[in-house]
Amino acid sequence: MNVKVDKTLVASVALHVLVLGWGLVSFSSKAFDLMPEESVPVDVISSDQLARVMAGMKTGQKAPTPLVEKVAEAKPVEDAVGKITEKAPVVTETTPPPAPKVEEKPVEKKPDPPKPVAEAKPKEEPKPVEKKPDPKVDPIAEAIKKEEKKPKPPVQAAKPPEPVKPKPERAFDQSKIAALLDKRDPSRQAVTGDTLNSNAALGLAKGKAADNSATWGALFQAQVERCWKKPYGGIEAQKSEAAFAIKLKRDGTLEGMPVPEGTPATPYLRVYQESALRAIIECQPYNLPAAYFDEWKYFAPVFTERKT
């Protein structure tokens, strides 16, 4: 009966019990609660669609709240996009000497001389001198000549004398590296304010949603349903669907008869389609937001019993 108890084993068991016991108490004390949340309908869209939805509008209203990228003391910036500022010339030893003014002169003179033969002669050969030799020439010939001459000047001007360019000598002074750095203040400044707002000034994030049919579609639905006397059709009615293509005018009236999609397969489907057609015709004109006219001028209402 002499049982030798291993102290380490006892300690190990005791510690395990302690830890597990603590875990049982502390972890089980609170049930994992899921806060009830309002459900939100979610649609999967492609990045392309997202880009279109998020695109701003050129005609958009100024956002009521200014763009704010950083939370700080409010300091609105007029134009968030960086301005191009004049770059101060950086003078170093290796900088090529300022170009001689002569270089630019011939360029300025170019249009003036009709026939600059040489750089030094532009003013010595005025036009009247040229005209004098043949004053009796009929005006038509003269006009033709003029026409011939006119294109010439630019061609001639394209041949300005090569300016003497001093060949810049590439030298690198390690001690002047700092001078190469652009020490201008950053022209692009973060817009600060109290609350972050990523909306740019023009349009909202949802400004130009490609699909506003949820808005005007619901309006259309509410209006057409008032006239829809849906026929009662027992079991088979649960699978009924009738689609049309309709064109609306700006005043909300039909441009023509709605065009049904496909021919109904059963008598009930025919009746179902007819009832929907009657409803579309009877309920016009439709009062839909004019802003989305481009979208609702041509669309396809689908009357359906199918549960999605």
Binding site: F299, K307, T308
Partner: protein, 453 residues
């Protein structure tokens, strides 16, 4: 060495390029495909609108000759009443009409009917012919699309003008609901007169709207559970004569009646097969009753069930392949379905309470029943597999459902309790549009005929 390294790399690099270009091409293809899909008009879903009765205008049928004025008005009233009672139409009060007299030979002024929100318009004319017959013409117009949906003319004896009105009603109903009508049909029922202790029960028959009541028996004997033949002008019913109750066959046209079979004990709850050639019924044997079917031509009888229980109220499916019936083999009365040739039966009712008087719809989609439980009698329907049970009406005492020929409407009888007697009601199988059927006295045990035409 470098060559060795370079060579195997070449195909890899090429393939990667190919993959990249391939992916780009794929992207273009799918992109253009998506573009192509987006080409059609935007679809706006209008889901699950409310069922609503169709507003219909039925101006009085024009009289072809001055003498036909009365019948023209009568036909219009019958049609209006039929459509209104169906619950699927909302006839517009004639007082609202802008146009009172319609020229049936020309297209109507649709604007006048659009103004009073009519979606359909019925125009018609009744003309007495030189040979004494009556000519009935009608046209059904769609007001919004300005199209004629239906148009017919009929010739008949002047005394059958009500049937003409029912037939026209069926045409309108069928064209506007997509389902067969049921107005040109009759109902046989048990007419009850006299005080409760000495109630006289006679077999009677009427049009489905309660008109043209005829009495088929004198009322000397008690009659119960009349049933129409689906194909002949015959009725089968149970009558308590001098001895045991027996199943009889009654010819409506000749008035002749005969006992179906000659069985010992009582026979009851008869019903025709869909082809009208056989009668299925219960025969009592000792404390039990079982189902038998008898061929009316050969008079041969076949036993369908053999259980120590009460099997009764059999009803064929419209294709004649199966039978639903009531049985207490599981304790309380429940509904069972089995093959028309007998064999194993499958219980389909599992709700609380007991189920009885099952009737298979002529459309085959539902079985109607009487359900007893919780101190109430209810009329309900379920699918033939027992699913989709739905109670249409409940109360002190509702019993004996019978389907209209199109399976859309049920007729049953109701006793309000207290001193009164039973009367007939109709209800849509959706449970809506409960209507009392006018009868001269108390009435019970209705049975709807098939369409007459």
């Amino acid at each position: 060495m470098t060559d060795n390294n370079g060579l195997p790399e070449m195909p890899f690099r090429l393939s990667r390029r190919q993959i990249i270009s391939g992916m780009a091409a794929l992207g273009m293809v799918t992109g253009s495909a998506r573009h192509a899909l987006a080409q059609g008009p935007k679809r706006v879903i209008i889901p699950e609108g409310e069922f609503a009765p169709l507003p219909i205008a039925i101006p009085n049928f024009v009289a072809g000759t001055p003498a036909d004025n009365e019948v023209g008005v009568g036909v219009t009233q019958v049609i209006t009443n039929n459509l209104k009672r169906s619950g699927l139409f909302a006839p517009i009060d004639q007082a609202a009409y802008i146009e009172k007299v319609i020229n049936i030979d020309a297209a109507p002024q649709f604007q006048n009917w659009k103004t009073i929100n009519a979606q359909a318009l019925v125009t018609g004319r009744m003309t007495r012919q030189p040979d004494g017959r009556l000519k009935a013409e009608f046209r059904l117009w769609d007001v919004n699309t300005a199209q004629q949906l239906a148009g017919q003319q009929y010739f008949t004896s002047p005394e059958y003008w009500r049937r003409i009105a029912h037939i026209i009603s069926d045409q309108i109903y069928e064209r506007l609901t997509g389902e067969k009508g049921y107005f040109d049909s009759r109902v046989v029922f048990v007419d009850e007169t006299g005080p409760k202790e000495r109630r006289v029960k006679r077999l009677a028959m009427m049009d489905q709207d309660g008109a043209n009541v005829r009495y088929l028996t004198r009322g000397a004997d008690l009659v119960l559970t009349p049933r129409f033949s689906p194909s002949t002008q015959e009725i089968t019913y149970m009558e308590f004569g001098q001895g045991d109750p027996r199943v009889y066959l009654f010819n409506i046209e000749t008035g002749q009646r005969e006992i179906v079979g000659n069985f010992p004990g009582m026979s009851f709850s008869p019903r025709f097969s869909p082809d009208g050639q056989r009668v299925i019924m219960s025969l009592q044997q000792g404390g039990n009753s079982n189902l038998f079917v008898m061929d009316l031509r050969s008079k041969s009888t076949t036993r369908l069930t053999d259980t120590p229980a009460i099997d009764t109220s059999p009803s064929y499916s419209p294709d004649g392949s199966r039978i639903c019936f009531e049985s207490d083999r599981g304790g309380k009365p429940q509904i069972y379905v089995m093959a028309a040739t007998g064999g194993a039966a499958q219980r389909i009712s599992f709700g609380e309470g007991s189920y009885s008087t099952p009737v298979w719809s002529p459309r085959g989609d539902y079985i109607a029943f009487t359900k007893q439980g919780g101190g109430q009698f209810s009329i309900g329907i379920m699918k033939p597999d027992g699913s989709g049970e739905r109670l249409l009406t409940s109360g002190y005492h509702n019993e004996g459902p019978t389907f209209a020929p199109n399976g859309r409407v049920l007729m049953f009888f109701r006793e309000p309790g207290g001193g009164g007697g039973p009367s007939l009601f109709t209800v849509d199988i959706s449970g809506r549009n409960e209507q009392k059927v006018p009868t001269p006295g108390f009435a019970s045990d209705p049975a709807w005929s098939p369409l007459l035409s």
